[in-house]
Symmetry: C2
Subunit: 345 residues, 2 copies
Amino acid sequence: MEIKNDLLLRAATGVTTERVPVWMMRQAGRILPQYRALRAKMGSFKTLVKQPELACEVTIQPIDELAVDGAVIFSDILVISEAMHLDYEIIGGKGVYFPKTVATKQDIDQLEVVNDLEGIAYTIEAIKLVKRELAGKIPVIGFAGCPWTLFAYMTEGKGSKTFSKGRKMLYQAPEMAHELLEMITQSTIFYLKEQIKAGADIVQLFDSHAGMLSPKLFHHFALPYIRKICESITEVPIIVFAKGVGYAIESLNELPCQVLGLDWTMSPQNVRQRIGSSKSLQGNLDPCLLYANPTYIKKATTNMLDAFGYQKHIANLGHGLEPDTPLDNIKCFVDTVKEYQFAVM
Amino acid sequence: MEIKNDLLLRAATGVTTERVPVWMMRQAGRILPQYRALRAKMGSFKTLVKQPELACEVTIQPIDELAVDGAVIFSDILVISEAMHLDYEIIGGKGVYFPKTVATKQDIDQLEVVNDLEGIAYTIEAIKLVKRELAGKIPVIGFAGCPWTLFAYMTEGKGSKTFSKGRKMLYQAPEMAHELLEMITQSTIFYLKEQIKAGADIVQLFDSHAGMLSPKLFHHFALPYIRKICESITEVPIIVFAKGVGYAIESLNELPCQVLGLDWTMSPQNVRQRIGSSKSLQGNLDPCLLYANPTYIKKATTNMLDAFGYQKHIANLGHGLEPDTPLDNIKCFVDTVKEYQFAVM
């Protein structure tokens, strides 16, 4: 199916664009009154994720409301751990909670590599519905968590400032850790290929907890599995978003992916200086900056666009939207990107 | 009082040492069976912090058990927010909790700058007791939180992966934020001067949540207040430990302090390359590495020592000890540092 507004795909693959495309991590969800109304009526976050029609509706909501250039599927990176038979819950106000965590070889032996649609069908179905409903208006963005980040949740069982249970396993039982990471990797490759078959035009890999690792651990337990995924997914462009590892940007640049996502602590100029111009970049406004007043948001967004240059850039935040971000401020960010004129043209 | 083992002070101030001194963040506390026994008998963490004789006992425990080269006072960075009249609690298994947080100008108006001993006397008294008991054996290390990190706790009210309430205030109400940061700064300067009068031979500033800030916010709301503290504390050497801001090492190098603490994501060689040799460095083994086996710990510690070079280095971890670290592994780290032979000598 031909995509009418393909700015996102062109920017991702280094083809010239007449303006910078824009979307936001967590654009589908709590920031929108439409979502909050739907959730009040239909139940929990997981209920919405697990019912394809509702997940499709939530995915489309920001497209209508914000006019962004990509539709990221409403789902969760933990779909994969659940499909591997490790359940999770989302507890209101507290976040992720796993009733059971992975601590031993026996725990790993009870998990299964995802190699059929059971356990992931609801998200795959949601992508098909979104694809049909958008009818080629804009690209559909699929996503998955990176193996280390999923590993961190599966071992810790909840959010953490340090994810020290996972890091402990990397040091104490590296072979066991590699086994679990490999299982997650294979599951993720299968999952992403199904997302692409269902209609995802581009996919993003989230390594949200990469920054907890020492450089040695990152290069040994995180990066090789990201590479494996990138090598297996050749159908569509890939965005790799590894948070908190600005020091490793040169290594990330060697991945066979098209786009690197930057968090809000990384300087676009510094990154360009270090990696050259071969890859496209995505990011990276501080999500909390959208709490400021519109004049300030406009100025900061313009500065960000200047810093990235005019091509090979997908405008986004440096992390997910905060749930209570004022909608007008989000619109101000999107509109500023869309109205931005390339000074050189 | 003359200090018999002054390796730590010499390394901090760039004077040649015959071996690398070593201490560890959180060496006083839960890692030691002696501490756990005392706490089971005497009550909560705060009870121990608030009774000078007990805080002194806990401070001394690792000196006897681990033979480290510095005695860091058993206390908490939140002593200052409580002394400013914002109480905190430590909830078992959950961490820090503030019954009331700072959100408005009215909240700030109810706080007071610390300018007398009320509210800090128990820690000051503990330092005096430690100083007397050590009788010059090794230096006493005082400490305080940096203004941004205290601000982050006082606005968020608990631990957080993002501290977005604090960042929100920086963007929405920068003048109000500056007012609170200035109050914390003045309180901290008073507190540190009292620590030094009581016997602290060196002090460390912890900016544990620096890494949550964009570079612009860090340079605007964190660094200037650290600078102000460093400019006011001229009596003893200062260690500045700003976690998660490897990108800002050049800016940190311009602070009027003697030592920069590195977290476990920073490469010592890279830091030396960027800032030259004027400052001493502290750090930076991944605390989770102490879960590995002794052979691995020994190798990694030796590699770390090689990476820092032989002088102007205070061996430490890149963050606080994890509570369940095996004691033998901690000893292996300390002993490896103490037995390390300078290859060039």
